[in-house]
Symmetry: C2
Subunit: 111 residues, 2 copies
């Protein structure tokens, strides 16, 4: 896909929230899910994800708790909050509106 940075930035938050809205998850798994959802086109580096997670936590869109993998390795699980769910709805609507605007505008003159 080779996304411009600003699109990566703008899509990261809603994608993360949408994933957590389906089920609690942790850093490495979120990266794996995004990779899967995008057919391998989006491959986030972990160092890019964690600062975003921390920011989302600070904004209280998500919370975290320590858990363990089956093998005993510790993991930090993230859970969406009700504020996060509201934000997800709003972000998703904005994405749809902007996408519609853009597609219509471009469609007019069949680029």
């Amino acid at each position: 896909m080779d996304l411009p940075k600003d699109m990566v930035a703008a899509s990261a938050t809603p994608l993360i929230l949408a994933i957590l809205n389906n089920a609690d998850s942790y850093g490495y798994d979120i990266i794996a899910q995004v990779k899967g959802l995008s057919d391998g086109e989006m491959q986030w580096a972990d160092g890019m994800l964690y600062p975003i997670m921390h920011r989302l936590e600070k904004k209280e869109l998500i919370t975290s708790y320590w858990g363990q993998s089956e093998t005993g390795r510790k993991r930090k699980y993230y859970q969406i909050t009700s504020i996060g769910q509201e934000s997800l709805i709003s972000l998703t609507n904005n994405w749809r509106k902007l996408n519609d605007m853009l597609q219509n505008l471009v469609g007019e003159n069949n680029v």
Copy 2:
């Protein structure tokens, strides 16, 4: 709409390119078009637009030329380049893909 900054940023470039792809235009008119297209929900400040135009010009996605309004006031018109058109296609496709991903993901669990 009350868009987060990163979404404003990510949508500004494709919107501007799409508008110029329909017809050459100038700063104030682009702002007016965006306002119209969004039903008044997106109101860009001019001071926000010009730096973006200059950056797009630097990247050679658009070019500019001086013209005049009917009343004689000078205007800087912008025109999309072929690089800009390619970029517009790519950006529009990326927007559609990301939007599809997001809507599907959210739709699954009817937020």
